[in-house]
């Protein structure tokens, strides 16, 4: 065991060094494309860090979102950046100020001081602090699930998750009102991309259902399942999935609000019956949480894919 601990300690130090240098390279590399690729690598290593911190639930979410979707969003934005046609050219005349040396060095000094101060505060914290672990452990039996993280997300702090669904919806609404209409991309002529899609999308949907189901008593849950579903949506959008306009109007909007809608109805009903927001009766907690999670998964997946599109989706007219 001694040797194993030593090896893991060595691995920790290596991982910290790698994550830190990647973050620095993301900030310092001149090419934006390179910075985004490095950021994706950064996200993958962060997923490893979560595993080392015994947080497999976060590792799943980070691998799907931090490394996958965020990178895809940035790549898409970078691509659109080169094709955008400015309405007026103001900036061309406004000369680019070269940052002077002092304006680069002074923040650096300030930041070193911040690191030292925060580090000192961190090291002066007590070695052992239980936080809310005892409270969670005490109430696990009444939560209806066996995975403590799911219990916190959907039961003990269910209202957080409710509000978070609304935040997702608001973000999408803002993107839609700013981004204008966006046509779905034309069908890709690439045979490999097409067949990859045909094999991968059903598998991704299956994985998403599995993560949703297993979330009750093992790492997984609505957020991980939703982000896997969102990744499938991004893949479909990239390969030029044809959706008829009539499905993009009300059916799409229905799926988008399903998560927050079911959450709010459930909260209201429970408020009337149980006298508290999202206080489930112990016997029914299990299936109620599963219902909420299923609705949330669909909404999260659809919202993430719609965010990737970056505007109100509009069907292309096929010949």
């Amino acid at each position: 065991m001694e040797a194993l601990d030593f090896a893991l300690g060595l691995f920790d130090i290596l991982l910290v060094f790698l994550v830190l240098s990647l973050a620095w390279l993301v900030m310092s590399s001149e090419d934006l494309f390179r910075a985004i690729v490095l950021f994706v690598a950064f996200g993958l290593l962060m997923a490893l860090v979560w595993v080392r911190l015994e947080a497999p639930d976060i590792a799943l979410a980070e691998a799907a979102i931090g490394a996958g979707l965020t990178g895809a969003l940035m790549m898409a934005a970078l691509d659109r950046l080169s094709s955008v046609k400015p309405i007026q050219k103001v900036a061309a005349s406004a000369q680019r100020k070269q940052l002077s040396l002092s304006s680069k060095v002074l923040p650096l000094i300030a930041l070193v001081l911040i690191v030292l101060g925060l580090g000192y505060a961190l090291l002066s914290l007590p070695e052992i602090a239980d936080g809310l672990t005892p409270n969670v452990k005490e109430n696990m039996a009444q939560s209806g699930v066996k995975n403590p993280v799911t219990a916190v997300l959907l039961n003990f702090r269910g209202y957080d998750t409710l509000l978070e669904m609304v935040v997702l919806l608001l973000a999408l609404l803002s993107v839609w009102s700013l981004g204008g209409e966006r046509k779905l991309s034309p069908r890709s002529t690439n045979p490999i991309l097409g067949s990859l899609c045909r094999v991968l999308v059903p598998v991704l949907i299956l994985v998403s259902c599995y993560l949703l189901w297993v979330g009750a008593d093992a790492p997984g849950g609505a957020f991980q399942a939703g982000s896997v579903l969102g990744a499938a949506g991004v893949l479909l959008l990239l390969s030029g999935w044809h959706v008829e306009q009539k499905y993009l109007l009300w059916p799409l909007r229905f799926i988008l609000i399903l998560g927050s809608g079911v959450f709010i109805i459930m909260a209201a009903v429970l408020l009337l019956i149980q006298g508290g927001l999202l206080t489930y009766p112990v016997a029914q907690a299990g299936w109620m949480i599963l219902l909420l999670e299923s609705a949330a998964t669909l909404s999260i997946g659809a919202t993430l894919a719609a965010l990737f599109l970056g505007g109100v989706p509009k069907s292309r007219v096929d010949q």
Binding site: N190, I192, L193, L196, V199, L200, V203
Partner: protein
């Protein structure tokens, strides 16, 4: 005995990963680097999965491990093709000595 074999597989897998990484760092252009990466990583991961599957508690865990390998094979091969095609279309010429 099983421990010995899974260690053997894991070490062999690590060797392939090492070779792939050296190739990624040392090969002259994008196409050869992709080649090194996909070839070495697919086999390396396969060996690692074999080593881990020998240690698995149940058949379903081993099955999931094999499924992961299959997905990585599929995704790795397709993405390598897409990257190479994208590079060719943008006019990145293959390396000639």
């Amino acid at each position: 005995m099983i421990d010995f074999f899974s260690m053997l597989f894991l070490l062999a897998g690590a060797l392939f990963f090492l070779a792939g990484t050296v190739g990624l760092l040392r090969f002259p252009d994008l196409y050869t680097r992709l080649h090194a990466l996909t070839k070495a990583d697919n086999v390396g991961l396969g060996l690692m999965i074999t080593g881990l599957a020998l240690q698995a508690e149940s058949l379903s865990v081993a099955g999931k491990l094999v499924l992961i390998w299959g997905l990585v094979l599929l995704a790795g091969a397709s993405v390598a093709y897409l990257i190479a095609r994208g590079a060719l279309l943008r006019g990145v010429l293959p390396w000639k000595r």
